[in-house]
Symmetry: C2
DNA sequence: TCACTTCCGTTGTAAAAACAACCGATTAAC
DNA sequence: GTTAATCGGTTGTTTTTACAACGGAAGTGA
């Protein structure tokens, strides 16, 4: 299977570039060992780490699969690491022997892209709201739906939830207190309950 | 080709549900005629239109392809319309005759998912910034990169840009004026220029 | 038990955004 | 040419958030 993908491996020292912004890429990267950072430089030269890719994770797949190719970000080795590259044309095109693995691989990639879409779409839903209150209620609404109950736990601590919703931790805490006071929600630690009263919204 | 996808068509009257939130879906929808709304209801019963899907466009593809299946949103006919449904299993699985169309179709779907990912990821990049100024500069930075120049036009009017960045139009206008005054950017209508001075950021 | 840390709620202040309202310029419609 | 509508900038007020700082509660480890 490795062969039919045209896969190759390469090692990088800490700080080395795997891909540079502006590169045209045709190969999906998979971190076999170590981890890499996805970094973005803005027009004024400020560098920003926007994601960390660990062992077993993939990068550049959207650009390769989308046929966009030109990277808006760079990929930098966060430590010494080993990367596998797989050629997209070979991945997406059934090989002559029509192997089962190939078919499965395609389905896996489609699944990964689709689930990332769902995740991004969901987060966008909350973050586009203007106020901390709206963002929080939007998030809690979704969690309630996911759990199929008006009472549920969330996988974030306060700081994590604040980061996820792109708001201040203290502002989030304060807003939560207010919502509790108003009888809209109830909570203790990471366990929340959505209340029915207070239809004043 | 239609046959090998297991496609079927159905018509809906205005206001009818094509899919309901909570439905488990296995079929991708394509609007052949008319348009549908993607709507979300929150825990307090507020309904929100989050997207409009027009002729030739697809919906529910991420949930079907991602194997998630359970919809967090409903799909409602915005007017009388005709929908085609395509079974995902048949789409993603090479048909016995290994037809060329099938292979192309898979590549198209992968491309659509991937490009939507890129779009969402890019927008997220801007929107997660805390202030209007940061959101705007982040957006302009990306546009500058896309155009390969520090001078470029953008495809939004003020209101459109404000909506895209999830900020107030007037606040955006005010921030733009300030940035121009400070010598960070220059603009006229939809044409922008990023200036080099003012490294005070 | 005692220090030490982390998490979280609270408070006060300063900064920023939302909101509403207005106005001038440009465009479109008659 | 006049009217109407749209768009974009401005201003002032109110609301909301960011930020910094503090303190209590709970957990950890010596």
């Amino acid at each position: 299977m490795i062969k039919c993908l045209g896969a190759r491996e390469k090692t990088y020292g800490k700080g080395n570039s795997v891909y540079d912004a502006g590169d045209f890429v045709r190969e999906i990267g998979v971190v076999l060992d170590g981890r890499v950072h996805i970094v973005r430089d803005d027009a004024w030269g400020n560098r920003n780490i926007i994601a960390e890719i660990g062992e077993g994770e993939m990068f550049a797949e959207a650009f390769v699969c989308g046929g966009v190719g030109v990277l808006p970000v760079s990929v930098v080795a966060a430590c010494d690491c080993k990367i596998m590259f797989a050629d997209f044309q070979r991945v997406i095109t059934q090989c002559g022997s029509a192997c089962v693995f190939h078919s499965l691989l395609i389905r896996n990639i489609v699944g990964i892209l689709a689930r990332k879409n769902i995740m991004l779409q969901g987060k966008m839903e909350h973050i586009t709201k203007r106020t901390t209150r709206e963002k929080l209620l939007s998030y809690l609404s979704e969690q309630s739906r996911l759990h199929g109950s008006r009472e549920f736990g969330v996988p974030f601590d306060r700081q994590g939830l604040a980061d996820y919703l792109s708001v201040e931790r203290s502002a989030l805490s304060a807003e939560m207190s207010r919502l509790k006071l108003e009888g809209v929600i109830n909570y203790r630690k990471n366990h929340f309950e959505l209340l029915f009263d207070s239809l004043a919204e």
